[in-house]
Amino acid sequence: MASLAMRTLRKRQTRTISHATNGVITFVLLVLAAQSAAGAATLRGAAAKVEITPPPGIEMWGYSDRKGPATGTLDPLYARVLVLGEGKNVLALVTLDLGRPFGPASLARLQDVTPKCFSSLIVTASHTHSGPAVMDRYPNGTPAWELAAIDKIGHAIQLACSHLVDVRIGTGYGAADIGHNRLHVNTDGTVNWFERNLTRIPTSPVDPMVSVLRIDQADGTPLAILVNYSCHPVVFGSDNLQYSADYPGVMIKTVEAALGNKLLCFFLQGAPGDINPYYAVTPLQQNAIRMRDWTGERLGREAAGIAKNVQTKADPEAALQFVEHKLKFHSRWDPQKWRDAMVAVFGPSVFQTFPPPAEGELELSITTVLINKRIAIMTMPGEAFVEYQISWRERCPVPDAFFLGYANGYYGYFPTIRSATLGGYGAANPATWVEVGAGDRMVDDAVMSTYDMLGRMRKTPEDVKQ
C-alpha cells in the first residue's frame, strides 16, 4: 500500500499495441489508469480489452441447424479484463463475447501465462450465439484462435495488474424490458417453447433488473461500468454466419458513448437459462441487425442512465474477498440415454461441437466475491434459470448482489427443481445434465460463503471454551 501512496500523478494512459496473429486478428489493448491516493485500505483497479475475433471458417456456437462455419465478422468479439485488488487479494474478471467460457485446459493455460498476477480468476461469457464453438476438449487439439486468445487475454491481465490504481465504487439499479420467459407453462402443466415474442406478451418469471457496478478512478472519472442482466444473446439466429457479440455489443457501445467513451463497459450475463430477447432468432432478411440494435440500445440506455447516477465513493475499510468451492454433483441421466437424446435433439453431428462431459461425478466450480463487505458476486458454471438470480438477490446478506452465469466452466442448463419437473428446453431435455437441485445448492453455497466472508459464520461453537 505504501508504494501506491507514493505514486505520482499519472495521466490516463491509452496504449494501442498491434500485432498480427495468423495475419488476420488485430490485437488492441486499452489500459486505463489514474492516480493513486493515500489511504489505509485501498481498492485498486484497472481495465483492459482485447479483440479475440477468430478467423472465418470456424464452426459456430449455439445452433445445431447452422449451414456452415463462420464466413466473416459483423462486429468484433472482445475479451474485457477487470482487475481489482486490495492488499494481496487480486481478482481478475474476464468477460468474453463468446457462447461459453473456455474449457479447463485453456483456463489452466491462462493461469500459466499470468504467473502470480491474481489470486482469483473469473472467466465469464456473454453466451452470444454468433461466436465460435468453444469446447472442453477438442478432438484435434485446442484451435489456434483459442490459444491466441488465451495468450492475448493473459497479456491484458498482466498489463492491467501492473497498472492498478486507486478506485472507488458504487452500485445502481434500474429495469429494462427486452426479453421474455421462453418456457410457457400451460394450465395443464405442459410447456410450450415460446422462442420469439414480437408482440411483447408479458411472461413470468422474468427479472427486468439492470444491476450496475461503477468503478471510478480516484478523481471520479469512470473507469469501468459493469452491467449485469439476464437475457440470451440470440437476436441473431442460425442463418447468421458472421461473428457478432449480438445485443451485448450494442449495449456496451451505447453505455460507453453515453459516458464519454473514456471507460470500458462490461456485460455480465446473469441467469438467462429461460429468458430470450423478444426478437429472438430474427432472420437476417427480416432486419435482424436492427432488432439486435434495438435490444442492445434499450438495455444500454437504461444502464447508462443508472451509471450516470451512481455516486461512487472510496471505502476507508476497503476489502476484497473471494471463496472458490468445488461442489460435486451426480449426472442427472444415464450416460447412454443422455447421448441418445443428444443425437435425437441436436442431430448426429452434435458431438463435433459439443463433446459429452466426463462421466461419473461432476465437479463444478463456484466462486463468490465480496467487495467492501457489501457487494457480492456469485458465479455458476452454466445456464441458470432466472429464478436463481432472483433467489440469490433475495437471500444474499449484503445489499448488492450480482449473479454471473457461464462462469469458470460450462455444464449446460441449471433449471429450478420445479422447472425440471415441468419440462421443456433446458429443463428436462439433454441440454441439462447435472442432477436436479444443483442450482439450489450453488445458491446455498454462495450465501454461506458470503456469510463466511462477512465473519458471521463462527469457526467454533459459541458455548465452548477454547
Binding site: 441421466w333 444415464d334 440415454k337 443422455w338 441418445d340 437424446a341 443428444m342 435425437a344 435433439v345 437471500r395 446478506p397 427443481i417 420445479r418 425440471a420 419437473t421 415441468l422 419440462g423 421443456g424 428436462a428 431435455n429 439433454p430 441439462t432 445434465w433 436436479v436 437441485g437 439450489d440 445448492r441 446455498d444 453455497d445 450465501v447 454461506m448 456469510y451 462477512l454 458471521r456 459464520m457 463462527r458 469457526k459 467454533t460 461453537p461 459459541e462 458455548d463 465452548v464 471454551k465 477454547q466
Partner: protein, 487 residues
Amino acid sequence: MSKQSGNFAAWPYPSHAYVGGLWRRSALSRKVPTLACCFLFLFLLCNAPCSAATLKAAVAKVDITPPIGLPMYGFLDRIKEGKVSTGVSDPLYARVLILEVSEKRLALVTLDLGRTFNAAGIEWLRKAIAASSGISFLIVNASHTHSGPNLLDEYPSGQAPAWEIEILNKIAATVHEASGRLVEAHLGTGYGSVYIGYNRRVVSSDGRVTMLWSNPGMEPTSPLDPRVSVLRVDDTGGKPLAILVNYACHPVVLGADNTKYSADFVAVMASTVEAALEGSPICFFLQGGDGDINPYYATTPLREDATAKRDWTGRRLGEEAARIARTIRTEASSPATIDFTDDVINFPLRWDATTLRDSLLKTFGPRIFEDHAGTLVHDPPPDHLELHVITLLLGKRIAFVGMPGEPFVNFQINWRDRCPVPDVFFLGYTNGYFDYLPTIDAAAEGGYGAADSNTYLEVGAGEQILRHALVRVYEMLGRLKDEPEKD
C-alpha cells in the same frame, strides 16, 4: 388400543430380539427359524389385500412409561446435577398407525419421548415389524417432551438399558397386534391456526441474537408458524380412527425442576381432541419444525403452577385441532397409494470434530455426552454423520418429510411453500436424532441451536434435506423422468 406386555420372550414373532446396541438372534428364532418363516408366510398370505386400490388402517397405543429413577431428557442442568425421575405426572405413550395399500404397509409410531431411539434401536424395530407384521416402511417421530427418560445414541455399557429394550418390544408387539385388525379407511385433511408459542431467538436490528427463554407476556415474534395441520383417518362408516395433529412447538412447559414423567402439553392436547370427537379415536401429535419455537409458558417453575400452564397450552392447541378435525370430510383415497423413501445422506461435521469434542468435555465435563453429541463420543470423532431422511406421499396428494433432528421453523414453512401437493406435513425428530438443524441465515446469526455445540451438522444440511425430499415427491408423482426429453 391394547396395552401389550413388555416381555419380548413372551412375544414370539420377531426373529430377532433387541438387546441394546447389538443384534442377537433370540433363543426362539435360533431354535425354530423355519417355523418363523412359515408363520410369516401364512401371516402374509392371510393378510393379503383383497383390493389393490384400497387403503386400510389400524391404530393402537401402548404405555411406555419407564420405571422411575432414570436420568431425564433435555435439560442439561438436571443431568449435571444427577437428578433422576421421581414419579409420573402423566403416562408416556407410543401411538401406532398402520396404513396399508396393496402389498405396502406403513407403520407410523409417535413417541412421548425427547427423541427417537438410536440407529440400532430403530433398525431393530424396523426389521422386527417387517418380519412379524409385513411392515414395509417405518416412521418413528418423537414429541420432544423434556419430561421423559434420557435416550442416548451410545450407552457407556455398550447396550441399551432394559427399559428401552422393553419399550421397543412393546412397540413391536403393538404394531403386530394392530396389523391384524386393519380396516378399510378414508382420509381427510384440514387446517387452522393457534398461538401457543413464540420464536425464542430474538434477532435485533444489529444482528445480535438474544435468547428469550419464556414469553408469558405473549410478545409477538418471528418467524413463527401458527398452522395446525390435521390428518383424519376414518373407517368407511365415518367413525374416526386417528387424528394426526402436526404443529411446531417445544414441549417444555415443564422445566428442569420437574422430575416426573410427562408428555408435557402434548398429552393434554391429545386428550382434548380425543374427548371432543365421538368414536374414541387416537390422537397423534406429530412434532414439526420447532427448533426455535418455545411455548409461551416455557420452563415454568412448578411452584408457579406449571401444570396449569401445561394444560392451558395443550387445551388451546387441542381445541383448535378438534375444531379442525370435526370439519374434515374424509373420503376414499383415490388413487389409494403409498409412496415412501428412507434415504441416507452423509453430512460432514460443522466444526472440527476433535476440537469440538475436547471443547465440550472442557466446558461441560464428561456428562455432556449424556445430553447430546453422543455421536461425537468416539476418539477420534467421526468425520461425517449418516442421516435418514424420510419422504412419504399418500394418495399422490398428502406429503410428509421427516428430518432426524430439531429443524428450525422456517424449514416447515418452506416445505409447505415448495411442496407440489395440496397437503403437506412436516416432521422433526424422525428416524434419528442429530440435534439442531438451523437455517443458513440462523446459523450465521447465532444463538442456541444455531451456532453452539447443539448443532454440529454442516451448515445448509436442512436446506439439502428439504431439497432431497422435494425431489422425491416429484419423483413419486411421476413428474421427474429418468431420461431426457427427445422432442
